[in-house]
Each structure stands twice: as structure tokens, then as C-alpha cells.
Amino acid sequence: MSNNKLSTIAIHGMVLPMLGLGVIALVMGVTFVFFERDFKQREERYSDYLRAVGTIQALTQNAYTNAQMIGWLHGVLGVDQFIATSDSFRRVENIANPEFIRRTSFSKTHPTVTADDGHPAYQALSASWFGRFADLQAALLDTELSRPNMLLLDMEIARDRTTDGRVSIKLDYAAFTTEHQ
């Protein structure tokens, strides 16, 4: 009989109440865990949102500058570099004294290399000049400042022993472009 009382106390006094409380705690816990998980996702989303807003605000402040830059880059990169460079050379020739400086050749040595092979698209240009060193440097400065997309790959300067110190220059450029991306 005492065992019956003990089992009654154990079952009705401990096991069942604790089971009930345990079920309540479990439901509460599971609900809370799901809520926490959802809230953590919301916090991550909010963090991403704040980061995005910061990015947007920073970039929006620079929008005008970037717009100018994009326009300029389109101007520099978005045209046929062979023609553009040739025009630059011609402008130099027009203002220079032909006795001191002249272009001896200009060609597009390779088709436009696209961006697919691992680097920005470019056109391979080759040019040759003949003239006095200082005049050639000034001409090239003028040209290269107006065509900043040109990357000098190879250059050879050789002194012409037959003349009064004038030199011949052979130049190979990679002229970056967005035309054929």
C-alpha cells in the first residue's frame, strides 16, 4: 500500500506535473528558438540593409563625379583606338615642324583582343617616328596625355649616325577599349 502511495505521489506529484511543465517549457522553448532564428535572420538582413544604405549614401554622394568619370572613360575607351590615335598623331604633325619630327608609320598590328583571354580588351597599335629627341618627347607627351588608354609595350630608340643627332623611334602600344567587350 505504501508503494501504491509512493507511486501515486511519484506519478501525480512529480512525473505528470513535471511532464506538463516540461511540455509547456518545450513548446515555449521551441517557439522561442524559432523566433530567435527568425529574428537573427532579420538582424542579418537589417545589417545588410544598413551596409547597403551606407554604400548607397556614399556612392550617391560621388554620383556626379562618377558620372563625369564614366562619360570621360566612354570617350577615351569607347572609340576605335586606331583612328583616335591616328588623329592624335596627325594633330601633332599639324602643329610641329616637319623638318624636326615626322611619323614614318602607324598600323594596327593585331585585331582587337577581347577581354575573354584574361585582361581588358585592347587594340595593338604600332608607330614609328623620326626626329629630334626633345621634339619627339614633346609630341609623344601630347599624344599620350590625350590617349591615356595607351600602354607602351615596347619601344626602341636608335640614334641616326648619318644625321645631326636625330633618332628613330619604334613604338608598340596596347590601347585599351570597351568597344569589343
Binding site: L21, R45, D48, E144, E156, I157
Partner: protein
Amino acid sequence: MVKQVDKGLSYREISRQVSIGRLFEASRWGDDPRKTGLVWHIYVKGSDVTSTVHDKSGYAKGPAISIGDLQSSQALREITKGLSLQGRVVVGIMVHVADDFAVSSIRSAKEGPEHYRHGSILTQDNPAAMLDEKPTGDGSYLYLPLPGAKRAVAIKINETRFTGLTQLALSDPEVRVGIYSAPLEYLVRLSGFVYESGETLKLDADQCLTVALLYSNFIAIGIISEGGLHSIATLPIEQRTGEFRRSMTTAIRSAGFESSSLFVIESNESCGSAILSEVELWHSDETDEAEQASIFTELLCADYATVTQGITVTRAQPDVSVTIEMLDVPANVGAMFLQKSAPLMIASAASNVSSAARKSAQLRVTRSDAAIVVFARGLKAAAVIALIAGFGFMAWTVYGAVSSPAYRLEQAAADRAVAEAARLSTISSAVETWSRVIAPRSQAWAVMEVSSQLFPERLGVTLNSVRYQLQFGDDLGTGAKGFDTVYEFAGVGPKAAVDQLETLDERKIKEVFESVAGVASNSFFSDPNASIRVLVTSKQGQFETDGALDFNVQITRTTQGESEYALPASTSILPAIEELMKPVDLPTTL
């Protein structure tokens, strides 16, 4: 309604009996009614019922009760409710039966001293196995050892008269019930008289002490030898004058004793006065002296007062008056019944013949059960508190969460912002990448400036050729390609000038490049991370006859892939301006 024992107690019933305060009340958890907080003594002599209560403040007159009330559980419940102060005190009800005393024989195989230890339990549980004759009626049996004769007898008490008491015991866990044999209790307690009177009763082997307890409807006779209680018998009270003496003499002699002292204790004046008169007459030499002298050596007469006051025993000669505390078993009971038999007598006198008392014990929780219940309550309370605290914490956390802007932000708004930031970042990245692509890092005019600064006219050498090459290295996963710019100068000059050229080292070349960086306003040439190697060689010129030397200066300047001047290995599509100027869609408040 009487609780069915077999069904057991429900937890509600168990819990109702338990409180943390009660757990520490020792008087609440025993089964013995005399150890409760308040004991209600009911002395039953036929229809005459005497009531008294005893608590820590002493004895007091008990509530009025009739013999009929003992058959009504309702009446008893109402009385005990008042006595228990509405359940605050456990009440023990001790019924002392003074009108029912029947002696039965125990089977010879079960009456020896070796059965004394378990005889009481066996007799109560299974009297048929213990009694010499078949049990009759509804009475309960009490095992009474007779150590003086080394045998035992059974005392039968009819408890079925007290149905109300039985029902109360089985329905109220706050009540302890006991039914006791009053004559047997007296036999035990009388020993206190001998001690209190300062005399030590010494009995020879052929002597005994005869105690005659005169009740309203019977006489209980106990014969005590030096070994303890020797025999016990009842005689009907309706005896003719002289019958009592003859019966006593026969009983004593049949027990094998030559002489005896005699205690005669009267409990009812009207019934016992005749016998007392006979005894006194017989003691005053008006009877057969020879018979008297041969049997009774001393006569002691006692007279009951009320139960509440105890009993007053008066010795005939000399007059000694002693009040015996009736309700407490004297600790020195052994002075009369000898030490070895005293515990047996006390145990028999204290035996509760109520079968309801044993059954009701099963309906009560024990102290250990109560401790478990209290522990369970504490555990539940702690669990509930923890649950409430947990719920509070969760509610507080949830409230804080749902109040935060992070919770209110809609997925669509967040996605729009992230997409917008990504779009603008892509644009910015494209602008940045393309700006890096076209950053000045290899230009012909700058190479010519290096030549001019490295070989000024004052040096006195003639520069015949300049070779410049840009050689890309491997893309090492940095997203940009490092490269070497290789300058190679060849010429001729006098030995002194060439010797000066041979002093060119990395530091001097770096100075030249930094100078060019200043002229060109281009930090590429002053990149501190770029490494420079210089190699100067000279030899006698093949066509020179004036001792001039041919020289060759090779400079290799390495730009690492990690450098900001390394060429981006890939570019994104340069967006249109309109793409940048699209309006941004963002929520204004959250």
C-alpha cells in the same frame, strides 16, 4: 462515506493531508492515538460513558458523549472537529472498554514463551490459527502472555459496537482511533501503587498476589506470581455471598499457590459494595479464620474515583491513600510484574484491538510520504518559477526584438536596398577598375625622360640606342598582373664617364625615377614597393680608337601583382551614365 481501502488514496487526498508546517509536527504522523496532540479518552462501562481529554496542558473534562454517539460517525466527527481546532491538531480517540472482558484459550502449541514476540500480531490478524476454539462473534482478540505460568491467553473485546468509531477512523485521516481493554490497563498500572507506597512486594514461590477488579457486570481476576502474571479469569458479578471467596480460593489453589495477598478494586459502588462488604467481613475475623489464614495473608482495598482523577487505593491496615495516575503507564511497572515480564504486560495493555485503526493507517500518508509530497511541491514551485522566469525573459526578449527596426524591416525593402547598393557598387567598381586600367604606368615620353635624366649631356657619353619593354608576369590570383619594365641603354663614352656609370646602383636609379615622378606628376615612378635591379657592363669599343668604352646599362623595375599599379586582370562592363543616375528606391522610415 467510508473510503474503500483497496482503491488506495488519490493524490488529491494525499496532498490534502500534507503541508510543510505539518511535516515538522511529530504528533501528526504516528498511528498511536496516545501520541497525538490531543487525546480523547472514552471510558465505556455499559451505557455509562465517561469522557476526558488530555493535551499538553493536562487533563480536562471531555465533551459529553453517549454510547449511541459511538455508533454515529457524524456525531463523532462533529465532536472531533471541535477538539482538533478545525484540523489543526490531530485527535487520538482511546476507548477503554470496561464492560467486555472474555478470556479465551490459546492453542497449546502457540502459547509458549517462544510465541510471545509475534503472538499479538498473529492473534489479531488470524485468531482462528491461534485460538484453541473457533472464534465466535465479531470480536477482536488480544494476545496476553502469562509469563508467570509460561503460557498465554486471548482476551476478546467486541469492537463492532463502535461502528461510528470505525467509520470515522476510515474516513478522517486527522483522527487516530484505539480500543483497549480497561481491566488489562489497570492490571499494568496497579504496579505503580506498590512503588508509590514505598513497599516492595516480595513473593515466595508458593505465594501470589491476587488482584480483583470489580466492574459493573463482571469481576476480572489476575493472579500474579514472582514470575509475573500467572493467570487471568473473569467471574460474573451476580454471586451469592461467599461465592466470591470460594471462587477466589479455588482459583488460587488450582494455580498451585498456598497463600496470597488480595487487591480488591471497585469500579462501581452499587455492584461492588456487596463483595467489598463480604471481603471486609471476611477480613475482620468473622469468617473461617483457618481458611482465611491459609489463603489471604493481606487484604488491600481500593476504590475508584473518577477516571479523570485516577484511582485511589486505600489499604485497609494501615490506612494508606495513594492516587495512581491512571492514564500514563508507569515507567516502574516492573516493580510489581518483575522486570522481565513488564514489557509484555505493557505491550498487551497498549494493544489496540481496533481493526479499523490498522486499516485507517493505510489511508494516511507517512511522514516520509509527506516529505516527498512537500519536496514534489517545492520542485513544482521551483519549476513553475523557472518557467515563469523563462517566459518573462522570452517575453522581454521578444518585446525588445519586435520593437527593433530590424524586425520591422520588410524583406522586399531590404532586398531593394541591397540590390541598389550592389548596382551602384558595380558601377563604382567598374569606374575604379577602368580608372586603374588607364592609369599612366608605361608611356614613351616618360621613358625618354628617364633616358634624359640618367644620361645628361654633361656626362659626356653618347647614347646610341634605348630599348624599353613591358613584360607581364603571371596572374598570381591577386586579380591584377604585375609586370617588369626593362630599360636597356647602350652607348659609348670615355672611360671616366663609363666608370661613373658603373657606380649606378639601385638607390641612384630610384632617385632618377622619383625625379621623373615629379616631372610627370605620376606616383607610379615613386612606388616604394617596386624593386629595381641594375646591371652595367662595359667593354673596349670595337671601333673606338681613343680609348672610349662601349657600355650597356640594363635596369629592371618590377611592379608586383599586389601593387596598386598592377594591371587589373579583368574588367567589368563600363555602365552607361543613365544607369548611375537612376533614382534610388529606399524606405524612408522603419
